[in-house]
């Protein structure tokens, strides 16, 4: 279940998670460079798909956070594209979805946590930010703190658990009928659940940032 160490770079163990994260980073960078060279007003082919993605995320963020949310669109779009690609590559045999490792999902959840709280401090200042932990009664402080931590943990664990569970079930089925039985299940766990979990993670990321900026 743990990510295998593929190779070492001068005594630094590179696990599958890190390796496939790099693969995805290269993939996304190439796509974003190659397909945005000659943008035309009437989009054609790949530009259509990319515009759907960008518009979708932009509408999502603006619907939720209004105009001031446009600063977060790049972050949310990157998170969404990375998680979507990570979930979808687990279909190809021999790959290891980075989101299958708690490190990746915890890192993404912590990023969202820092962005949400950091921007609240930037917008409202440190004083009011601290005060929000003492709402509505002063003895609510520990409960509010635990609530915030629970949000980050549940955000990370939900993605991790779903992807890991799906991969393990498909892995077990591989032992029975290698290339026949797992295919329909792979469509369910790999594709459908992968896309749903991406949407859930992204929507919650927007919601967490928006609720802090309120």
């Amino acid at each position: 279940m743990e990510a295998r160490v593929l190779f070492h770079i001068s005594s630094l163990p590179i696990t599958e998670t890190v390796f496939f994260t790099w693969v995805i980073m290269v993939l996304l960078t190439l796509v974003s460079i190659v397909f945005t060279r000659n943008l035309k007003t009437i989009p054609r082919g790949m530009q259509n798909i990319l515009e759907v993605a960008v518009d979708g995320i932009e509408n999502l963020v603006h619907k939720d956070m209004g105009k001031r949310g446009s600063g977060y669109v790049p972050l949310i779009l990157t998170i969404a594209l990375f998680i979507l690609t990570a979930n979808l590559i687990s279909i190809f045999p021999g790959t290891f979805a980075p989101t299958q490792d708690l490190n990746t999902t915890a890192a993404l959840a912590i990023i969202v946590f820092l962005v949400a709280h950091g921007s609240e401090i930037r917008v409202k200042g440190l004083g009011p930010y601290i005060k929000t932990y003492f709402q509505p009664y002063f003895w609510m402080f520990p409960i509010n703190v635990v609530g915030e931590i629970a949000k980050v943990l549940s955000h990370a664990f939900r993605l991790y658990g779903n992807i890991l569970g799906g991969t393990i079930i498909i892995g077990i089925l591989y032992m029975f009928a290698p290339y026949v039985l797992p295919v329909p299940l792979m469509a369910w766990f790999g594709l459908f659940m992968g896309v749903i979990q991406t949407a859930v993670f992204t929507l919650l990321a927007v919601a967490y940032i928006q609720v802090r900026l309120e």
Partner: protein, 92 residues
């Protein structure tokens, strides 16, 4: 030898018990789907927004079941398998 067998048995029972929490999301999501079907029945034109909200709500309510799955899998893979291998070594 005996200790290894006890640990394996405990892991097996423990992960089985952990999966009882899968009951909660099952009921919750079924209830949500039922309500969504009713809502679509009342307003067929609102189907898209109802479906998206339902799927989002179900995915979020599913997280408790996924936590129990994570607990069960962690127990099996971090306690069960190593101990099982040790038991196999002991048995020779």
């Amino acid at each position: 030898m005996l200790e290894a067998a006890i640990v394996i048995a405990a892991v097996a029972v423990g992960s089985g018990l952990a999966m009882i929490a899968g009951l909660g999301p099952g009921i919750g999501e079924g209830y949500a789907a039922g309500k969504a079907v009713e809502a679509i029945g009342r307003q067929p034109e609102a189907e898209n927004s109802v479906r998206t909200t339902m799927i989002l709500g179900q995915a979020i309510s599913e997280s408790t079941g996924i936590y129990s799955l994570a607990v069960a899998l962690l127990m099996i893979f971090s306690f069960g398998f190593p101990m099982f291998n040790k038991l196999m070594e002991l048995l020779g």
